[in-house]
Protein backbone atom coordinates (compact mmCIF):
# COMPACT_ATOMS: atom_id res chain seq x y z
CA UNK A 1 0.00 0.00 0.00
CA UNK A 2 2.78 2.33 0.91
CA UNK A 3 4.40 1.76 -2.46
CA UNK A 4 1.21 2.87 -4.18
CA UNK A 5 1.13 6.06 -2.17
CA UNK A 6 4.77 6.58 -2.89
CA UNK A 7 4.40 6.00 -6.60
CA UNK A 8 1.37 8.29 -6.76
CA UNK A 9 3.33 10.96 -4.98
CA UNK A 10 6.26 10.32 -7.27
CA UNK A 11 4.04 10.65 -10.30
CA UNK A 12 2.49 13.85 -9.05
CA UNK A 13 5.89 15.25 -8.40
CA UNK A 14 7.05 14.34 -11.89
CA UNK A 15 3.87 15.34 -13.66
CA UNK A 16 5.13 18.69 -14.80
CA UNK A 17 8.36 17.16 -16.08
CA UNK A 18 6.41 14.59 -18.06
CA UNK A 19 4.12 17.26 -19.42
CA UNK A 20 7.11 19.30 -20.52
CA UNK A 21 8.73 16.27 -22.18
CA UNK A 22 5.53 15.43 -24.04
CA UNK A 23 5.23 19.02 -25.19
CA UNK A 24 8.81 18.97 -26.45
CA UNK A 25 8.24 15.70 -28.29
CA UNK A 26 5.21 17.25 -29.98
CA UNK A 27 7.18 20.34 -31.01
CA UNK A 28 9.97 18.13 -32.32
CA UNK A 29 7.56 15.92 -34.27
CA UNK A 30 5.95 18.90 -35.95
CA UNK A 31 9.18 19.77 -37.73
CA UNK A 32 9.65 17.52 -40.73
CA UNK A 33 13.38 18.21 -40.96
CA UNK A 34 13.97 17.20 -37.33
CA UNK A 35 12.19 13.92 -37.97
CA UNK A 36 14.24 13.30 -41.10
CA UNK A 37 17.39 14.06 -39.10
CA UNK A 38 16.34 11.71 -36.32
CA UNK A 39 15.51 9.01 -38.86
CA UNK A 40 18.87 9.30 -40.63
CA UNK A 41 20.78 9.23 -37.35
CA UNK A 42 18.64 6.28 -36.24
CA UNK A 43 19.41 4.30 -39.39
CA UNK A 44 23.07 5.24 -39.03
CA UNK A 45 23.15 3.91 -35.46
CA UNK A 46 21.39 0.70 -36.48
CA UNK A 47 23.95 0.19 -39.24
CA UNK A 48 26.73 0.79 -36.74
CA UNK A 49 25.21 -1.74 -34.36
CA UNK A 50 24.45 -4.58 -36.75
CA UNK A 51 26.87 -3.74 -39.58
CA UNK A 52 29.37 -6.57 -39.09
CA UNK A 53 26.55 -9.14 -39.21
CA UNK A 54 24.75 -7.92 -42.30
CA UNK A 55 27.61 -7.17 -44.69
CA UNK A 56 28.02 -9.71 -47.49
CA UNK A 57 31.84 -9.85 -47.43
CA UNK A 58 33.08 -9.16 -43.86
CA UNK A 59 36.74 -9.88 -44.73
CA UNK A 60 36.84 -7.02 -47.20
CA UNK A 61 37.00 -4.41 -44.46
CA UNK A 62 40.41 -5.67 -43.42
CA UNK A 63 41.85 -5.52 -46.90
CA UNK A 64 41.35 -8.99 -48.30
CA UNK A 65 42.54 -9.31 -51.88
CA UNK A 66 40.42 -10.82 -54.64
CA UNK A 67 42.02 -9.64 -57.85
CA UNK A 68 39.66 -11.81 -59.89
CA UNK A 69 36.78 -9.48 -59.11
CA UNK A 70 38.43 -6.07 -59.03
CA UNK A 71 36.70 -2.86 -60.22
CA UNK A 72 33.36 -4.45 -61.03
CA UNK A 73 30.40 -2.10 -61.55
CA UNK A 74 27.44 -2.18 -59.15
CA UNK A 75 25.51 -5.43 -59.51
CA UNK A 76 23.30 -7.75 -57.48
CA UNK A 77 26.37 -9.38 -55.92
CA UNK A 78 28.15 -6.08 -55.28
CA UNK A 79 25.59 -3.31 -54.76
CA UNK A 80 28.16 -0.52 -54.80
CA UNK A 81 30.66 -2.32 -57.07
CA UNK A 82 34.16 -3.38 -56.08
CA UNK A 83 37.46 -1.53 -55.67
CA UNK A 84 40.94 -2.05 -57.14
CA UNK A 85 41.72 -5.12 -55.05
CA UNK A 86 38.26 -6.64 -55.47
CA UNK A 87 36.83 -5.53 -52.14
CA UNK A 88 33.09 -4.99 -51.97
CA UNK A 89 32.50 -1.23 -51.69
CA UNK A 90 29.09 -1.77 -50.02
CA UNK A 91 30.71 -3.78 -47.23
CA UNK A 92 33.36 -1.15 -46.69
CA UNK A 93 30.87 1.73 -46.69
CA UNK A 94 28.65 -0.04 -44.13
CA UNK A 95 31.58 -0.84 -41.86
CA UNK A 96 32.85 2.70 -42.37
CA UNK A 97 29.83 3.92 -40.40
CA UNK A 98 31.37 2.37 -37.28
CA UNK A 99 34.67 4.13 -37.93
CA UNK A 100 32.88 7.43 -38.48
CA UNK A 101 30.86 7.16 -35.30
CA UNK A 102 34.03 6.43 -33.33
CA UNK A 103 35.80 9.37 -34.92
CA UNK A 104 32.91 11.74 -34.29
CA UNK A 105 32.48 10.62 -30.68
CA UNK A 106 36.17 10.72 -29.81
CA UNK A 107 36.69 14.19 -31.27
CA UNK A 108 33.53 15.69 -29.79
CA UNK A 109 34.02 14.15 -26.35
CA UNK A 110 37.67 15.18 -26.07
CA UNK A 111 36.86 18.68 -27.30
CA UNK A 112 34.04 19.04 -24.78
CA UNK A 113 36.14 17.58 -21.96
CA UNK A 114 38.83 20.18 -22.60
CA UNK A 115 36.56 23.05 -23.55
CA UNK A 116 33.79 22.90 -20.95
CA UNK A 117 35.96 23.07 -17.81
CA UNK A 118 38.08 25.84 -19.33
CA UNK A 119 34.92 27.72 -20.25
CA UNK A 120 33.55 27.41 -16.72
CA UNK A 121 36.81 28.65 -15.25
CA UNK A 122 37.02 31.54 -17.70
CA UNK A 123 33.40 32.54 -17.18
CA UNK A 124 32.99 31.96 -13.45
CA UNK A 125 36.42 32.38 -11.88
CA UNK A 126 37.54 34.99 -14.39
CA UNK A 127 40.50 37.14 -13.43
CA UNK A 128 43.92 36.76 -14.97
CA UNK A 129 43.45 33.03 -15.52
CA UNK A 130 40.16 33.57 -17.32
CA UNK A 131 41.72 36.26 -19.45
CA UNK A 132 44.59 33.94 -20.39
CA UNK A 133 42.19 31.12 -21.32
CA UNK A 134 40.16 33.42 -23.56
CA UNK A 135 43.27 34.79 -25.25
CA UNK A 136 44.53 31.32 -26.09
CA UNK A 137 41.04 30.38 -27.30
CA UNK A 138 40.96 33.42 -29.56
CA UNK A 139 44.32 32.51 -31.06
CA UNK A 140 43.07 29.02 -31.87
CA UNK A 141 39.88 30.45 -33.34
CA UNK A 142 41.82 32.89 -35.50
CA UNK A 143 43.11 30.11 -37.75
CA UNK A 144 40.72 28.09 -39.89
CA UNK A 145 40.31 24.78 -38.05
CA UNK A 146 41.18 22.56 -40.98
CA UNK A 147 44.50 24.36 -41.58
CA UNK A 148 45.43 24.04 -37.93
CA UNK A 149 44.52 20.36 -37.97
CA UNK A 150 46.64 19.95 -41.08
CA UNK A 151 49.57 21.56 -39.30
CA UNK A 152 49.17 19.37 -36.21
CA UNK A 153 48.74 16.15 -38.12
CA UNK A 154 51.66 17.19 -40.32
CA UNK A 155 53.74 17.40 -37.16
CA UNK A 156 52.46 14.17 -35.62
CA UNK A 157 52.52 12.16 -38.83
CA UNK A 158 49.62 10.70 -40.80
CA UNK A 159 47.23 8.14 -39.33
CA UNK A 160 43.72 7.92 -38.01
CA UNK A 161 44.65 8.34 -34.33
CA UNK A 162 46.77 11.40 -35.04
CA UNK A 163 44.05 12.86 -37.23
CA UNK A 164 41.50 12.47 -34.43
CA UNK A 165 43.93 13.97 -31.96
CA UNK A 166 44.62 16.92 -34.26
CA UNK A 167 40.93 17.60 -34.82
CA UNK A 168 40.15 17.34 -31.11
CA UNK A 169 42.98 19.78 -30.40
CA UNK A 170 41.51 22.37 -32.74
CA UNK A 171 37.90 21.70 -31.76
CA UNK A 172 37.81 22.59 -28.06
CA UNK A 173 37.92 26.41 -28.39
CA UNK A 174 34.32 26.45 -29.62
CA UNK A 175 33.19 24.90 -26.34
CA UNK A 176 35.19 27.39 -24.29
CA UNK A 177 33.48 30.28 -26.06
CA UNK A 178 30.03 28.76 -25.68
CA UNK A 179 30.36 27.81 -22.01
CA UNK A 180 32.18 30.99 -21.05
CA UNK A 181 29.49 33.29 -22.41
CA UNK A 182 26.73 31.16 -20.92
CA UNK A 183 28.42 31.04 -17.50
CA UNK A 184 29.11 34.74 -17.57
CA UNK A 185 25.43 35.46 -18.20
CA UNK A 186 24.30 32.98 -15.53
CA UNK A 187 26.65 34.37 -12.90
CA UNK A 188 24.75 37.65 -13.06
CA UNK A 189 21.32 36.10 -12.59
CA UNK A 190 19.50 36.63 -9.33
CA UNK A 191 19.24 32.99 -8.39
CA UNK A 192 22.99 32.42 -8.58
CA UNK A 193 23.47 35.55 -6.52
CA UNK A 194 20.93 34.22 -4.03
CA UNK A 195 22.75 30.90 -3.87
CA UNK A 196 25.99 32.71 -3.20
CA UNK A 197 24.38 34.93 -0.58
CA UNK A 198 23.01 31.89 1.22
CA UNK A 199 26.51 30.55 1.57
CA UNK A 200 26.83 28.08 -1.30
CA UNK A 201 30.42 27.28 -2.15
CA UNK A 202 31.93 27.70 -5.60
CA UNK A 203 31.86 23.99 -6.38
CA UNK A 204 28.20 23.79 -5.36
CA UNK A 205 27.27 26.73 -7.59
CA UNK A 206 29.20 25.29 -10.53
CA UNK A 207 27.78 21.78 -10.31
CA UNK A 208 24.28 22.61 -9.15
CA UNK A 209 23.51 25.85 -10.94
CA UNK A 210 25.92 26.61 -13.77
CA UNK A 211 26.60 23.23 -15.39
CA UNK A 212 22.99 22.01 -15.60
CA UNK A 213 22.08 25.22 -17.40
CA UNK A 214 24.88 24.75 -19.88
CA UNK A 215 23.78 21.24 -20.76
CA UNK A 216 21.29 22.03 -23.50
CA UNK A 217 23.52 24.34 -25.58
CA UNK A 218 26.33 21.80 -25.19
CA UNK A 219 24.09 18.96 -26.39
CA UNK A 220 23.01 21.03 -29.38
CA UNK A 221 26.58 21.92 -30.27
CA UNK A 222 27.78 18.36 -29.77
CA UNK A 223 25.13 17.01 -32.12
CA UNK A 224 26.18 19.47 -34.81
CA UNK A 225 29.84 18.76 -34.11
CA UNK A 226 29.39 15.02 -34.58
CA UNK A 227 28.62 15.67 -38.24
CA UNK A 228 31.33 18.30 -38.64
CA UNK A 229 33.96 16.15 -36.95
CA UNK A 230 33.16 13.25 -39.25
CA UNK A 231 33.49 15.64 -42.17
CA UNK A 232 36.79 16.96 -40.83
CA UNK A 233 38.29 13.50 -40.37
CA UNK A 234 37.11 12.50 -43.84
CA UNK A 235 38.80 15.62 -45.21
CA UNK A 236 42.09 14.67 -43.61
CA UNK A 237 41.59 11.13 -44.90
CA UNK A 238 41.04 12.52 -48.37
CA UNK A 239 44.27 14.53 -48.24
CA UNK A 240 46.05 11.34 -47.25
CA UNK A 241 46.88 12.35 -43.68
CA UNK A 242 44.03 10.54 -41.94
CA UNK A 243 43.10 6.88 -41.97
CA UNK A 244 45.36 4.73 -44.13
CA UNK A 245 44.04 1.92 -46.32
CA UNK A 246 42.80 -0.75 -45.94
CA UNK A 247 41.07 0.89 -42.96
CA UNK A 248 37.47 1.43 -44.14
CA UNK A 249 37.26 5.19 -43.63
CA UNK A 250 35.05 7.08 -46.06
CA UNK A 251 37.39 10.00 -46.79
CA UNK A 252 40.35 7.74 -47.49
CA UNK A 253 38.17 5.57 -49.73
CA UNK A 254 37.22 8.63 -51.80
CA UNK A 255 40.87 9.62 -51.98
CA UNK A 256 41.84 6.25 -53.43
CA UNK A 257 38.76 6.02 -55.59
CA UNK A 258 39.69 9.36 -57.10
CA UNK A 259 42.51 7.67 -59.01
CA UNK A 260 39.94 5.45 -60.71
CA UNK A 261 37.65 8.22 -61.95
CA UNK A 262 35.81 8.57 -64.24
CA UNK A 263 35.48 4.96 -65.45
CA UNK A 264 35.18 3.37 -62.01
CA UNK A 265 33.03 6.14 -60.53
CA UNK A 266 31.27 3.96 -57.94
CA UNK A 267 34.46 3.59 -55.93
CA UNK A 268 34.40 7.19 -54.69
CA UNK A 269 30.74 8.07 -55.31
CA UNK A 270 29.19 5.83 -52.63
CA UNK A 271 31.48 6.65 -49.70
CA UNK A 272 30.85 10.34 -50.41
CA UNK A 273 27.12 9.77 -50.39
CA UNK A 274 27.49 8.08 -47.01
CA UNK A 275 29.38 11.08 -45.58
CA UNK A 276 26.78 13.45 -46.97
CA UNK A 277 23.83 11.59 -45.48
CA UNK A 278 25.49 11.14 -42.10
CA UNK A 279 26.49 14.78 -41.77
CA UNK A 280 23.07 15.85 -43.01
CA UNK A 281 21.40 13.68 -40.39
CA UNK A 282 23.42 15.05 -37.49
CA UNK A 283 22.94 18.63 -38.71
CA UNK A 284 19.18 18.29 -39.01
CA UNK A 285 18.99 16.60 -35.62
CA UNK A 286 21.12 19.32 -34.04
CA UNK A 287 18.91 21.94 -35.64
CA UNK A 288 15.76 20.32 -34.31
CA UNK A 289 17.27 19.99 -30.84
CA UNK A 290 18.25 23.64 -30.87
CA UNK A 291 14.76 24.79 -31.76
CA UNK A 292 13.57 22.70 -28.87
CA UNK A 293 16.11 23.35 -26.14
CA UNK A 294 17.52 26.70 -26.98
CA UNK A 295 15.05 28.65 -29.10
CA UNK A 296 16.63 32.04 -28.52
CA UNK A 297 19.94 31.16 -30.14
CA UNK A 298 18.28 29.93 -33.30
CA UNK A 299 19.95 32.49 -35.53
CA UNK A 300 23.33 32.47 -33.83
CA UNK A 301 24.78 29.64 -35.87
Amino acid sequence: MSTRVLSAAWRAERASTWRELRRQARVFARSASSIVGLAIVGVFLVIVAIGPWIVPYPDDARGAVHLDRKLQPPSAAHWFGTDEVGNDVFTRVILGARVSLEIGLVITVIAALIGVPLGIVAGYVGGGLGELIMRVTDIFLSVPALILALAVVGALGPGIVNAMLALALVWWPGYVRLVQSKTLALTQTTYVEAARASGAGRARIVFLHLLPNCVSPIVVKASMDMGLAILGAASLGFIGLGAQPPYPEWGAMISYGRNYLPTWWWYSAFPGLAIYLTVLGFNLLGDGLRDLLDPRSRTAM
Binding site: S33, R135, V136, D138, I139, F140, S142, V143, P144, A145, L146, I147, L148, L150, A151, V152, V153, G154, A155, L156, G157, P158, G227, L231, A234, S235, F238, I239, G240, L241, G251, I254, R258, L261, P262, W265, S268, A269, P271, G272, I275, Y276, L277, V279, L280, N283, L284, D287, R298, T299
Partner: protein
Protein backbone atom coordinates in the same frame (compact mmCIF):
# COMPACT_ATOMS: atom_id res chain seq x y z
CA UNK B 1 47.16 38.20 -31.78
CA UNK B 2 49.71 37.66 -34.47
CA UNK B 3 52.36 37.07 -31.84
CA UNK B 4 50.13 34.46 -30.23
CA UNK B 5 49.62 32.82 -33.56
CA UNK B 6 53.35 32.61 -34.19
CA UNK B 7 53.81 31.06 -30.73
CA UNK B 8 51.23 28.47 -31.74
CA UNK B 9 52.85 27.60 -35.05
CA UNK B 10 56.24 27.41 -33.39
CA UNK B 11 54.87 25.13 -30.70
CA UNK B 12 53.29 22.82 -33.24
CA UNK B 13 56.37 22.60 -35.40
CA UNK B 14 58.67 21.93 -32.44
CA UNK B 15 56.75 19.28 -30.59
CA UNK B 16 57.19 17.07 -33.61
CA UNK B 17 58.67 13.71 -32.75
CA UNK B 18 60.41 13.35 -36.11
CA UNK B 19 63.78 14.83 -36.98
CA UNK B 20 63.51 17.51 -39.67
CA UNK B 21 67.23 17.60 -40.27
CA UNK B 22 67.39 13.89 -41.03
CA UNK B 23 64.39 14.25 -43.27
CA UNK B 24 65.99 17.10 -45.19
CA UNK B 25 69.27 15.27 -45.58
CA UNK B 26 67.54 12.37 -47.26
CA UNK B 27 67.68 8.64 -46.58
CA UNK B 28 71.30 8.12 -47.70
CA UNK B 29 72.85 10.89 -45.58
CA UNK B 30 75.40 9.99 -42.94
CA UNK B 31 75.36 11.39 -39.41
CA UNK B 32 77.85 14.17 -40.23
CA UNK B 33 75.64 15.53 -42.99
CA UNK B 34 72.61 15.47 -40.72
CA UNK B 35 74.57 17.29 -38.03
CA UNK B 36 75.73 19.93 -40.47
CA UNK B 37 72.17 20.57 -41.56
CA UNK B 38 70.97 20.63 -37.97
CA UNK B 39 73.55 23.27 -37.12
CA UNK B 40 72.68 25.22 -40.25
CA UNK B 41 68.99 25.46 -39.35
CA UNK B 42 69.83 26.03 -35.69
CA UNK B 43 67.97 22.88 -34.69
CA UNK B 44 70.71 22.01 -32.20
CA UNK B 45 70.11 25.14 -30.11
CA UNK B 46 67.85 25.29 -27.06
CA UNK B 47 64.17 25.99 -27.78
CA UNK B 48 64.04 29.60 -26.50
CA UNK B 49 66.98 30.47 -28.76
CA UNK B 50 65.24 28.80 -31.69
CA UNK B 51 62.06 30.71 -30.87
CA UNK B 52 63.87 34.04 -30.76
CA UNK B 53 65.45 33.26 -34.09
CA UNK B 54 62.10 32.30 -35.51
CA UNK B 55 60.48 35.54 -34.36
CA UNK B 56 63.37 37.66 -35.68
CA UNK B 57 62.99 35.93 -39.00
CA UNK B 58 59.25 36.51 -39.04
CA UNK B 59 59.68 40.20 -38.33
CA UNK B 60 61.99 40.41 -41.33
CA UNK B 61 59.51 38.52 -43.49
CA UNK B 62 61.61 35.35 -43.40
CA UNK B 63 59.43 32.27 -43.02
CA UNK B 64 62.25 29.79 -43.34
CA UNK B 65 62.83 27.54 -46.28
CA UNK B 66 61.15 24.45 -47.56
CA UNK B 67 63.21 21.43 -46.59
CA UNK B 68 62.15 19.65 -49.74
CA UNK B 69 62.69 22.21 -52.48
CA UNK B 70 65.07 24.55 -50.61
CA UNK B 71 62.93 27.46 -51.79
CA UNK B 72 62.28 30.35 -49.43
CA UNK B 73 58.75 29.86 -48.09
CA UNK B 74 58.00 33.58 -48.35
CA UNK B 75 58.78 33.52 -52.08
CA UNK B 76 56.65 30.40 -52.59
CA UNK B 77 53.75 31.98 -50.73
CA UNK B 78 54.04 35.14 -52.78
CA UNK B 79 53.79 33.01 -55.89
CA UNK B 80 50.86 30.83 -54.82
CA UNK B 81 48.82 33.14 -52.62
CA UNK B 82 47.31 35.28 -55.43
CA UNK B 83 45.69 32.15 -56.87
CA UNK B 84 44.14 31.23 -53.53
CA UNK B 85 43.04 34.79 -52.95
CA UNK B 86 41.34 34.83 -56.33
CA UNK B 87 39.57 31.54 -55.68
CA UNK B 88 38.35 32.45 -52.21
CA UNK B 89 37.29 35.97 -53.18
CA UNK B 90 35.30 34.78 -56.19
CA UNK B 91 33.67 32.08 -54.07
CA UNK B 92 32.74 34.61 -51.40
CA UNK B 93 31.32 37.02 -53.98
CA UNK B 94 29.25 34.23 -55.49
CA UNK B 95 28.03 33.11 -52.07
CA UNK B 96 26.92 36.63 -51.12
CA UNK B 97 25.54 37.52 -54.54
CA UNK B 98 23.37 34.42 -54.65
CA UNK B 99 22.86 33.68 -50.96
CA UNK B 100 21.54 37.07 -49.87
CA UNK B 101 18.90 37.54 -52.62
CA UNK B 102 17.85 33.90 -52.30
CA UNK B 103 17.41 34.34 -48.56
CA UNK B 104 15.30 37.44 -49.17
CA UNK B 105 13.23 35.65 -51.76
CA UNK B 106 12.64 32.69 -49.46
CA UNK B 107 11.59 35.01 -46.63
CA UNK B 108 9.19 37.03 -48.77
CA UNK B 109 7.67 33.89 -50.27
CA UNK B 110 7.61 32.04 -47.00
CA UNK B 111 6.37 28.41 -47.08
CA UNK B 112 6.04 28.35 -50.86
CA UNK B 113 7.99 26.08 -53.17
CA UNK B 114 10.74 28.74 -53.37
CA UNK B 115 11.17 28.57 -49.62
CA UNK B 116 11.17 24.76 -49.62
CA UNK B 117 13.74 24.63 -52.40
CA UNK B 118 15.92 27.11 -50.57
CA UNK B 119 15.67 25.01 -47.43
CA UNK B 120 16.74 21.83 -49.22
CA UNK B 121 19.68 23.71 -50.73
CA UNK B 122 20.68 25.17 -47.39
CA UNK B 123 20.72 21.89 -45.47
CA UNK B 124 22.44 20.02 -48.30
CA UNK B 125 25.05 22.69 -48.92
CA UNK B 126 26.48 22.48 -45.44
CA UNK B 127 26.56 18.70 -45.29
CA UNK B 128 28.14 17.99 -48.68
CA UNK B 129 31.84 17.16 -48.35
CA UNK B 130 33.56 19.81 -50.51
CA UNK B 131 36.11 17.41 -51.92
CA UNK B 132 33.48 14.88 -52.92
CA UNK B 133 31.24 17.53 -54.46
CA UNK B 134 34.25 18.74 -56.45
CA UNK B 135 34.96 15.23 -57.73
CA UNK B 136 31.35 14.67 -58.71
CA UNK B 137 31.20 18.03 -60.53
CA UNK B 138 34.39 17.08 -62.37
CA UNK B 139 32.84 13.77 -63.28
CA UNK B 140 29.56 15.21 -64.49
CA UNK B 141 30.37 18.61 -65.98
CA UNK B 142 34.01 18.31 -67.03
CA UNK B 143 34.21 14.66 -68.09
CA UNK B 144 30.70 13.59 -68.97
CA UNK B 145 29.36 16.78 -70.51
CA UNK B 146 32.73 18.28 -71.42
CA UNK B 147 31.56 21.82 -70.72
CA UNK B 148 34.40 22.96 -68.50
CA UNK B 149 38.04 21.99 -67.98
CA UNK B 150 38.93 19.37 -65.39
CA UNK B 151 41.39 21.33 -63.29
CA UNK B 152 44.42 23.55 -63.20
CA UNK B 153 44.56 27.30 -63.54
CA UNK B 154 44.90 27.77 -67.31
CA UNK B 155 44.78 25.58 -70.42
CA UNK B 156 48.07 24.22 -71.76
CA UNK B 157 48.00 26.52 -74.78
CA UNK B 158 47.22 29.71 -72.89
CA UNK B 159 50.04 31.95 -71.72
CA UNK B 160 49.46 33.92 -68.54
CA UNK B 161 49.43 37.71 -69.00
CA UNK B 162 52.47 39.71 -67.89
CA UNK B 163 51.95 40.26 -64.16
CA UNK B 164 50.65 43.58 -62.83
CA UNK B 165 48.72 42.58 -59.74
CA UNK B 166 49.64 38.86 -59.94
CA UNK B 167 45.91 38.11 -59.88
CA UNK B 168 45.50 36.25 -63.13
CA UNK B 169 41.97 37.41 -63.90
CA UNK B 170 42.67 41.04 -63.05
CA UNK B 171 45.87 41.02 -65.07
CA UNK B 172 44.14 39.51 -68.09
CA UNK B 173 41.46 42.15 -67.79
CA UNK B 174 43.94 45.02 -67.50
CA UNK B 175 45.96 43.77 -70.44
CA UNK B 176 42.84 43.20 -72.48
CA UNK B 177 43.68 39.54 -73.12
CA UNK B 178 40.15 38.30 -73.45
CA UNK B 179 40.89 34.76 -74.51
CA UNK B 180 43.15 34.19 -71.55
CA UNK B 181 40.51 35.73 -69.35
CA UNK B 182 37.81 33.42 -70.70
CA UNK B 183 40.09 30.42 -70.26
CA UNK B 184 40.93 31.42 -66.70
CA UNK B 185 37.27 31.92 -65.88
CA UNK B 186 36.36 28.52 -67.31
CA UNK B 187 39.04 26.93 -65.14
CA UNK B 188 37.82 28.84 -62.10
CA UNK B 189 34.12 28.03 -62.47
CA UNK B 190 33.98 24.57 -60.89
CA UNK B 191 36.36 25.24 -57.98
CA UNK B 192 34.55 28.49 -57.18
CA UNK B 193 31.14 26.81 -57.16
CA UNK B 194 32.44 23.93 -55.04
CA UNK B 195 34.03 26.24 -52.50
CA UNK B 196 31.12 28.62 -52.30
CA UNK B 197 28.20 26.23 -51.95
CA UNK B 198 28.42 25.64 -48.17
CA UNK B 199 28.93 29.35 -47.55
CA UNK B 200 26.10 30.21 -49.90
CA UNK B 201 23.84 27.81 -48.05
CA UNK B 202 24.50 29.22 -44.60
CA UNK B 203 24.43 32.85 -45.71
CA UNK B 204 21.07 32.25 -47.33
CA UNK B 205 19.74 30.56 -44.25
CA UNK B 206 20.73 33.30 -41.84
CA UNK B 207 19.50 35.99 -44.19
CA UNK B 208 16.12 34.28 -44.51
CA UNK B 209 15.69 33.96 -40.76
CA UNK B 210 16.70 37.57 -40.14
CA UNK B 211 14.49 38.88 -42.93
CA UNK B 212 11.50 37.05 -41.49
CA UNK B 213 12.11 38.61 -38.12
CA UNK B 214 12.73 42.08 -39.49
CA UNK B 215 9.67 42.03 -41.72
CA UNK B 216 7.45 41.61 -38.66
CA UNK B 217 8.69 44.70 -36.92
CA UNK B 218 6.67 47.82 -36.40
CA UNK B 219 8.71 50.13 -38.55
CA UNK B 220 8.13 47.88 -41.55
CA UNK B 221 4.40 47.91 -40.87
CA UNK B 222 4.55 51.69 -40.67
CA UNK B 223 6.36 51.87 -43.98
CA UNK B 224 3.73 49.62 -45.54
CA UNK B 225 0.94 51.77 -44.13
CA UNK B 226 2.61 54.81 -45.60
CA UNK B 227 2.34 53.18 -48.99
CA UNK B 228 5.95 52.44 -49.82
CA UNK B 229 6.25 49.73 -52.43
CA UNK B 230 6.96 46.21 -51.23
CA UNK B 231 10.19 46.08 -53.19
CA UNK B 232 11.50 49.26 -51.63
CA UNK B 233 10.58 48.11 -48.13
CA UNK B 234 12.25 44.74 -48.52
CA UNK B 235 15.37 45.89 -50.29
CA UNK B 236 16.05 49.13 -48.47
CA UNK B 237 14.57 49.07 -45.02
CA UNK B 238 14.44 45.42 -44.09
CA UNK B 239 17.61 44.22 -45.77
CA UNK B 240 19.78 46.74 -44.00
CA UNK B 241 18.83 45.43 -40.59
CA UNK B 242 18.80 41.81 -41.64
CA UNK B 243 22.32 42.21 -43.02
CA UNK B 244 23.93 42.68 -39.62
CA UNK B 245 23.68 39.04 -38.47
CA UNK B 246 24.19 37.95 -42.06
CA UNK B 247 27.46 39.82 -42.07
CA UNK B 248 28.63 37.89 -39.02
CA UNK B 249 27.90 34.70 -40.93
CA UNK B 250 29.78 35.98 -43.97
CA UNK B 251 32.84 36.66 -41.81
CA UNK B 252 32.59 33.22 -40.22
CA UNK B 253 32.18 31.50 -43.55
CA UNK B 254 35.10 33.37 -45.06
CA UNK B 255 37.35 31.81 -42.45
CA UNK B 256 35.81 28.44 -43.15
CA UNK B 257 36.51 28.85 -46.86
CA UNK B 258 40.13 29.67 -46.14
CA UNK B 259 40.26 26.24 -44.51
CA UNK B 260 38.40 24.18 -47.06
CA UNK B 261 40.25 25.80 -49.93
CA UNK B 262 42.97 23.22 -49.26
CA UNK B 263 40.51 20.48 -50.22
CA UNK B 264 39.15 22.24 -53.27
CA UNK B 265 42.63 23.10 -54.49
CA UNK B 266 43.66 19.48 -54.07
CA UNK B 267 40.72 18.23 -56.10
CA UNK B 268 41.04 20.78 -58.90
CA UNK B 269 44.83 20.89 -58.92
CA UNK B 270 44.60 24.64 -58.30
CA UNK B 271 48.09 26.09 -57.77
CA UNK B 272 47.33 27.96 -54.53
CA UNK B 273 48.72 27.86 -51.01
CA UNK B 274 46.25 25.16 -50.00
CA UNK B 275 47.68 22.66 -52.43
CA UNK B 276 51.14 23.87 -51.43
CA UNK B 277 50.37 23.18 -47.76
CA UNK B 278 48.96 19.74 -48.51
CA UNK B 279 52.02 18.73 -50.52
CA UNK B 280 54.23 19.96 -47.71
CA UNK B 281 52.18 18.19 -45.03
CA UNK B 282 52.32 14.87 -46.84
CA UNK B 283 56.13 15.02 -46.80
CA UNK B 284 56.46 16.46 -43.25
CA UNK B 285 57.93 19.72 -44.52
CA UNK B 286 57.12 22.19 -41.75
CA UNK B 287 58.18 25.64 -42.78
CA UNK B 288 55.64 25.81 -45.63
CA UNK B 289 52.75 24.57 -43.46
CA UNK B 290 53.57 27.09 -40.75
CA UNK B 291 53.89 29.83 -43.35
CA UNK B 292 50.48 28.97 -44.78
CA UNK B 293 48.95 28.80 -41.30
CA UNK B 294 50.29 32.23 -40.43
CA UNK B 295 49.21 33.75 -43.73
CA UNK B 296 45.69 32.34 -43.54
CA UNK B 297 45.40 33.37 -39.89
CA UNK B 298 46.44 36.91 -40.82
CA UNK B 299 43.92 36.88 -43.63
CA UNK B 300 41.15 35.78 -41.31
CA UNK B 301 42.01 38.49 -38.78
CA UNK B 302 41.90 41.15 -41.48
CA UNK B 303 38.56 39.81 -42.66
CA UNK B 304 37.18 40.04 -39.13
CA UNK B 305 38.39 43.61 -38.93
CA UNK B 306 36.59 44.42 -42.16
CA UNK B 307 33.42 42.81 -40.84
CA UNK B 308 33.63 44.96 -37.72
CA UNK B 309 34.05 48.08 -39.84
CA UNK B 310 31.09 47.07 -41.98
CA UNK B 311 28.95 46.70 -38.83
CA UNK B 312 29.61 50.31 -38.02
CA UNK B 313 28.65 51.34 -41.51
CA UNK B 314 25.39 49.39 -41.40
CA UNK B 315 24.41 50.25 -37.88
CA UNK B 316 25.02 53.81 -36.64
CA UNK B 317 24.41 52.68 -33.06
CA UNK B 318 27.63 50.69 -33.18
CA UNK B 319 29.52 53.60 -34.69
CA UNK B 320 28.33 56.06 -32.07
CA UNK B 321 27.36 54.25 -28.90
CA UNK B 322 25.84 57.46 -27.51
CA UNK B 323 22.88 57.17 -29.87
CA UNK B 324 21.12 54.37 -28.01
Amino acid sequence: MLFGLSCLTFAISHVVPGDPARLAAGPDANQAMVDTLRAKYGLDRPLPVQFARYLRGLAAGDLGESLRSRNAVAADLAQYFPNTFELVTLALLLAVAVGVPLGMLAAVHRDTWIDQGARVLSVSGVALPAFWLGLMLQLLIALHLGWLPLGGRLGLTATPPAPITHLLLVDALLRGEWRTMADALAHAALPVVTLSLPALASIMRVNRAEMLETLQQDYIKTARAQGFSGFRIVCRYALRNAMIPTLAMIGLRYGWMLGSTILVETVFDWPGIGLYAVNAAVSSDFAPIMGVTLLLGLNFMLANLLVDLAYGWLDPRIRRPGLT
